[in-house]
């Protein structure tokens, strides 16, 4: 039996109060197996980003439990949670979120430095090489293209060798050619290194790179797709499930 890297049980997440109360997640239970690539899809407001944030320990659900790499996040203090996130969880944002005053290499080694470790130059170079940016190590974010910035962000997320890599719309700010570069990179991580990857996206073409697609609607799991996925089959299936072809 395969190991489940991330397990979510009965997640409920609520925002706001009074009549502005919004239920973002309404009892979601699922898991992500080691060495798999999962895409989470759904219309705006379906709770897909919240799901990712809760699974990554960036946000806390009001109900339910999250286990990452065998450790329950439920009762961890803010400091312990941060440490766990730093060591076992990688996160890639839509807007790259690189620190503009640091070079690519410095951005990559930042999580290790925050953990109080001296980043071996070799590891940083290897991480940058893995995302194909060896010759960009000394550049600052402003001197890099969007795709390059996102690849630096991926290298940064991987430098601590996390158990799972979460990506929130990683290609949302990129054109399609660069998007495919980044997606191929993620696919390669899963295939070649057995990395577990969970990605939120609204792009069927991006989702087609995954092994498995979770469809969310109104904070609940609506459907699940596996097998040989292509952009068009995904799009057709989604349209059939949700009858809301807005995306």
């Amino acid at each position: 039996m395969t190991t489940q890297t991330v397990t979510l049980v009965g997640l409920r997440a609520v925002y706001g109060s009074g009549n502005r109360r919004v239920t973002a997640l309404d009892g979601v239970t699922t898991s992500f197996a080691e060495g798999t690539f999962t895409a989470v899809m759904g219309p705006s407001g379906s709770g897909k980003s919240t799901l990712l944030h809760c699974a990554a320990g960036l946000d806390r659900p009001v109900e339910g439990s999250v286990t990452v790499d065998g450790i329950s996040l439920d009762r961890l203090s803010e400091d312990d949670l941060t440490r766990l996130r730093r060591d076992r969880i990688g996160f890639v944002f839509q807007s790259f979120n690189l620190i503009s005053s640091l070079t690519a290499a410095q951005n990559v080694e930042l999580p290790l430095r925050l953990a109080g470790r001296r980043p071996p130059t070799r590891d940083v170079a290897a991480a940058l090489a893995a995302v194909g940016l060896t010759d960009r190590a000394g550049h600052r974010p402003a001197e890099l293209s969007g795709g390059e910035q996102q690849r630096v962000a991926v290298a940064r997320a991987l430098i601590t060798r996390p158990a799972v890599l979460f990506a929130d719309e990683p290609t949302g700010a990129l054109d399609s050619a660069t998007s495919h570069q980044v997606l191929r990179l993620l696919r390669g991580l899963v295939d070649d290194h057995g990395q577990t990857v969970v990605m939120v996206t609204h792009d069927p073409a991006a989702a087609a790179y995954a092994d498995r697609i979770l469809l969310l609607a109104d904070g609940r799991l609506a459907d699940e797709l596996t097998g040989d996925l292509t952009a068009s089959s995904v799009a057709a299936r989604i349209a059939a499930t949700t009858a809301e072809p807005a995306w």
Binding site: D79, T82, R85, N97, T160
Partner: protein, 808 residues
């Protein structure tokens, strides 16, 4: 992570604060008493017993009588190692040039002091020309007077003008006369200088001299001789010390206040970046440590820069203090270790204190905030902030009531200061709450043409209440202190003058002109109530208790009671005050309201101990001073006492060295010298707060401009013209100034009202509140000008430099 550009604001705030603290501390440490040049060659000086009381902190020492002096001189001169023991006599003497006292050496007290010739050797003074004075009628004067040996000169002493002949010149202030003349004018001696033989050890001689004295005085050597400085210098130094202490305290307070606001602001601006760090794995602890380290670095660097600036500033400020009369002319700035150490420590400590709350808040930043595009600020007030602000305001109000109930002006002032500090800090902490309502109140005035600006202003006030609050804080501080301090002075001055007028039953007053007092000649030339003050001394009840100085007024009972409206006789009769050995005392001094049957022994200025018979007891508010004596008794024991003033019923032609003014002028003038000093001190304090506050306003707004570049470019993208954006920024900063000025005004008003209540309580009559509108207008105008310039100009430049389309 320490970005130089982002740290500039905090760096500047800390550096200026440290510069202020360093300068005031250096000046404070420099204000040590100086050995008078006149006594520089006397390695050991024997001085009379020290006198002191809370009411008169700078009394002369208790003198020795003529016989005691002679005995001491003989025994001291016989000590091994002592070459000579020279009594130093000091009395009032002022040469007249062209019939008037010359204006020499500014305020220096020693310019109108006379001494016996023998004491010239104590200062190693040698004649610049001519011969020493050998007999009565001969005098050696200061070369600076421009007189030549052989020239006639009129010497004004307490008796009046006397014809003298200049026999020699000295390069020193004051005059020197023959010793027999000095003995007559100053029969009591307060210091005996010991000239030592070349191989004598001063400490050993001092020890021997102490044995000779047996407790009847003090023996000082080396720097310890500073206690012999002229009393006027000691008083001036004391005033300077008060002013510098107040300035240092205020500078420290303002520094912590402004730096805290600046750091809070810096941290708020870096919120997104901090959230990002949290997202990539920084723990809250690490964020706090990062901010502390940053603050420490900035604080240490700024401390160094501030110290250099402060050290350079100190001599300039020192000269200014001497010029305006806050320090004696002997004042020199000395660079000592401890003020430098304090200033260096101030930087990092203040920075750490300032960043403390900001860091705690920053550590609570959620990593997800990095994902949100525009950070909408949370509630304007957290529960902790609301509690702290509420407590501060409550404390301020409590101090306000205490001020209103204060028994005397000093106590009132002591309570008013913490009141204002608590209110200012409380108002600053709560400022974000007021930003929204005040903006809503004031925006209709700018609601024109479409109202886009007004809409943006209201929205901005809602989302950036904390930011606006931080900018309003220095304005609040500046306005509150400037208005309060100047309003307090303006409100209290007329009260004291009115009180004085009410106490006097006379229309005109004879006052000295360019002299410390009126001579007997001048007093005898007019008819009126003359007051001749002298200091008498009462021994402590036990040997350990210090000698107590008392102010005795030499008067004529009939004229004095006619001119004094406040005189209330409790027991006995004022008319019995005549002849040697009688006195009238205040009830608190007598300790009873009936005539005491025991005599009251005092030591006079000539060192004679006289048991006084109390003939009347009067109420405490009857006159300023402690006891009344017959004028002849004062003159008999203190040949150099000078008359303060003569109260006249009609105007007369003033005699030489005197002038006549009406009572209102006199009442306003009595405190004029003091008022001038108080007003200068006020200006200094306002200058410190306003200057620093102004810089803080500029600082915060410049930081705000840099942080808002993105917002402003987005506005341009949305279709705003550059002019509209600059106008928005300008109106926004004007509103912030309005919020700060309004809060500062309220704080000052609360303070002034309680001070007024306290004053009314003390004088027993209603007091008019004087609001110094010129100061209000000036300070608010200055803040407004600075705010407009420092927010509008960077915005204009920013929008000009880069293309509209490029939004980072």
């Amino acid at each position: 992570m320490v970005s130089v550009r982002r740290s500039t604001g905090a760096f500047v705030a800390v550096a200026i604060g440290v510069a202020l603290v360093a300068a005031t501390m250096l000046l404070l440490a420099s204000g040590r008493p100086q050995t008078p040049e006149r006594l520089a060659r006397a390695a050991v000086v024997v001085a009379g017993p020290e006198a002191g009381s809370p009411a008169d902190p700078f009394p002369p020492d208790r003198p020795w009588s003529a016989s005691r002096t002679a005995e001491l001189v003989a025994r001291l001169a016989a000590l091994p190692g002592v070459a000579a023991a020279v009594p130093d006599r000091t009395f009032y003497a002022q040469p007249l040039v062209d019939g008037r006292p010359p204006q020499l050496h500014g305020q220096r007290q020693d310019a109108h002091e006379g001494h016996g010739w023998s004491s010239a050797r104590l200062g190693g003074l040698t004649l610049a020309a001519g011969a020493p004075p050998r007999r009565p009628g001969e005098v050696v004067v200061d070369t600076a007077l421009g007189l030549r040996p052989g020239a006639p000169v009129t010497l004004l002493t307490a008796a009046g003008g006397q014809p003298y002949t200049v026999t020699g010149l000295l390069d020193a202030p004051g005059v020197h006369v023959a010793d027999e003349v000095a003995t007559a004018l100053a029969p009591g001696v307060r210091a005996i200088g010991l000239m030592l033989s070349p191989d004598a050890d001063p400490e050993r001689v001092a020890a021997a001299a102490r044995e000779v004295l047996g407790g009847d005085g003090r023996v000082v050597t080396g720097d310890g001789r500073g206690v012999l400085e002229p009393r006027g210098d000691a008083r001036t130094r004391w005033i300077g010390m008060q002013v510098l202490t107040a300035t240092a305290a205020l500078a420290g307070f303002v520094t912590v206040f402004v730096v805290a606001a600046t750091f809070a602001y810096t941290v708020a601006q870096r919120r997104r970046e901090l959230a990002l760090l949290r997202a990539v794995g920084a723990t809250p602890r690490q964020l706090r440590r990062l901010l502390y380290r940053h603050a420490l670095l900035v604080g240490a660097g700024a401390a160094l820069a501030g110290l250099l600036a402060g050290a350079a500033l100190a001599p300039l400020l020192g000269r200014l203090l001497v010029d305006v009369g806050f320090e004696p002319s002997t004042f020199r700035v000395r660079y000592t270790l401890w003020p430098i150490a304090v200033a260096l420590a101030t930087g990092p400590v203040v920075a750490l204190l300032a960043v403390w709350t900001a860091a705690r808040r920053a550590a609570r930043v959620r990593p997800l905030e990095a994902l949100r595009e525009a950070a909408v600020e949370q509630r304007p007030l957290g529960p902790l902030r609301a509690t702290v602000g509420g407590l501060l305001v409550a404390a301020g109000v409590a101090f306000g009531f205490a001020t209103a109930l204060a028994g005397d002006p000093q106590q009132g002032a002591d309570r008013a200061l913490p009141m204002v500090m608590a209110l200012v800090t409380g108002a600053a902490v709560l400022a974000p709450v007021f930003v929204g309502p005040v903006t809503a109140l004031l925006t209709p005035t700018v609601r024109r043409r479409g109202g886009a600006i007004s809409l943006l202003l209201r929205a901005g006030a809602r989302t950036a209440a904390r930011r606006s609050g931080a900018t309003a804080a220095p304005v609040l501080l500046t306005v509150a202190f400037a208005v309060l301090v100047s309003g307090m002075i303006r409100t209290s001055t007329p009260v004291y003058a009115t009180n004085r007028i009410n106490a006097v039953n006379a229309e005109w007053v004879l006052l000295p002109d360019r002299a410390p007092g009126l001579s007997d000649q001048a007093v005898e030339a007019v008819s009126g109530a003359a007051v001749l003050p002298t200091t008498v001394f009462v021994d402590g009840d036990t040997a350990a208790e210090p000698v107590r100085p008392l102010t005795a007024l030499g008067i004529d009972p009939a004229t004095f009671s006619a001119a004094n409206r406040m005189l209330t006789v409790v027991a006995g009769s004022l008319s019995d005050l005549h002849g040697e050995g009688t006195t009238v005392v205040k009830a608190s001094l007598a300790g009873t309201t009936t005539l005491p049957d025991r005599p009251y022994p005092v030591v006079f200025a000539d060192g004679e101990r006289v048991p006084l018979r109390v003939v009347a007891v009067v109420s405490d508010d009857s006159f300023p001073g402690d006891l009344l004596l017959p004028r002849a008794a004062v003159r008999g024991h203190d040949p150099s006492a000078l008359t303060d003033a003569v109260y006249l019923s009609s105007p007369i032609a003033p005699p030489a060295g005197a002038r006549v003014v009406d009572v209102a002028t006199w009442a306003a003038e009595v405190d004029r010298a003091e008022d001038r000093l108080v007003w200068l001190a006020t200006l200094l304090l306002i200058g410190v707060t306003a200057g620093y506050g102004g810089i803080a306003v500029v600082n915060t707004l410049l930081m705000a401009a840099a942080g808002r570049a993105r917002d402003l470019r987005l506005l341009r993208l949305a279709g705003a013209t550059r002019r509209q954006v600059v106008r928005l920024v300008a109106v926004e900063s004007a509103l912030v100034v309005a919020v700060g000025a309004a809060l500062g005004g309220v704080v000052a008003l609360v303070g002034l009202l309680s001070i007024r209540a306290g004053l009314a309580e003390q004088v027993g009559a209603p007091v008019d509140l004087v609001v110094p509108w010129s100061v209000v207008g000036g300070v608010v105008g200055l803040c407004l000008l600075l705010a407009l310039a420092s927010s509008g100009l960077p915005a204009w430049r920013l929008l000009r430099r880069r293309s509209t389309v490029h939004v980072e």
